[in-house]
Homo-oligomer: 235 residues x 2
């Protein structure tokens, strides 16, 4: 396939992000294909997020560093036909997030800690409507994604961002925020406060055990809501 050939050529040339590929005319000549075929090939590379094209003078096709969001979207379509359960997702969260918390204890700048506190401030007051409840639920998940982004491990950051985003989608899609479960929810917020204190104090063990407890609470909360939804649907 032509796209593969172009991709191989680009890697062989050692092109970096931002570098320009030859224009359509030159690619046609170099690979001996018609314009339409070359265009299909560049579209394929674009769909894979490897390249981006602009028209106009100075335009063309450029090597592009895939955004985390694009990678997440591509991976999502892999799981489109594979149904992930809450238990599946939380098995991964329970294993990874305590590890992240422990590794970041004492390593965060004051502005980073402040950023996390700002997110928490978004759900200090109890939600009164289902709408508010949904927003707070999402914000609380973004707390975890933000924390993961502060890790200098890009693999770990990506996985946790992916997992929390998937959980957000599930929450909204299946309305897992309604009805509100205030008791467990408040307990979850307490854990996040404890976690922040441990991170600031540089107490790695406390951060880990707090996160473990938080994950258990969150999973219990979500699974209770899920059971509730099923009940509502079947009765």
């Amino acid at each position: 396939m032509v796209a593969e050939a172009i991709k191989a050529w680009v890697m062989e040339q050692g092109l970096k992000s931002g570098d320009r590929l030859p224009g359509e005319a030159e690619l046609i000549e170099r690979f001996g294909m018609s314009k339409g075929t070359i265009r299909e090939a560049t579209r394929i590379l674009e769909a894979q997020g490897l390249v981006r094209t602009r028209s106009g003078p100075g335009g063309g096709t450029f090597v592009h560093e895939m955004s985390p969001d694009r990678a997440r979207a591509l991976l999502s379509s892999y799981f489109y036909f594979r149904d992930l359960s809450l238990a599946d997702i939380y098995q991964v969260r329970r294993a990874l997030e305590p590890e992240v918390a422990a590794s970041l204890a004492g390593k965060l700048s004051e502005s980073q800690l402040q950023q996390l506190e700002d997110i928490m401030a978004g759900y200090n007051a109890p939600a009164r409507t289902a709408e508010e409840e949904r927003e707070q639920h999402i914000a609380s998940l973004s707390f975890h994604a933000t924390l993961a982004e502060m890790s200098d491990n890009p693999l770990l950051s990506f996985i946790i961002a992916f997992v929390t985003r998937t959980l957000s989608d599930l929450t909204v899609y299946r309305k897992l925020y309604d009805p509100p479960n205030h008791a467990l929810w408040a307990e979850g917020k307490t854990y996040q406060g404890d976690l922040l204190r441990a991170l600031r104090a540089g107490d790695s063990d406390a951060a880990r055990t707090t996160m473990v407890a938080h994950m258990q609470t969150a999973q219990a909360l979500m699974e209770a809501q899920e059971a509730e939804v099923v009940l509502r649907l079947t009765v």
Copy 2:
């Protein structure tokens, strides 16, 4: 973009894997675009692994369930510009693999256990050439990918398959198998034997602690090799 429109239409229709999309002619009519543009769109969907096309009568474009390997390849290109270190990869492995081992203890059929033993048999005898060492290294990683596939958690399976494959690539690319480090390597094999016994016995705690120890050994092995490589290159 047309590809997005088609994708949305497919999801709206609730088409499942194997279902046929309208032919080019009908797509042209339905989306009001020319042949070439429609073709580019289907190529984009094909590149994302959502669709596959066949020529001939009864051919056409079909909804397709993305293969794990395709998903892995797409995700790999995300990390192409982001350099993953051994420490990054092992931070994830150390957190996830013991969890997998614990959750599978006592749950595997005899034929699954046999499959794992067969893989181990491939590196019973010590390697004598660098070539053999490389093959054994890869086989030992496939032991972990195979174990992960036995989990009924598709998210966990995918992540571990991705991580072990990335590690294989790194190993080959940076020749981390040469020179052989027999002492640590033998120790790693012992752990895998212990692990199999724990899995067969259904001892979940033993499986977990064995895997933890194995991960530590493996990371130490790999990092020692990495240091060795750097030394050879700089001296």
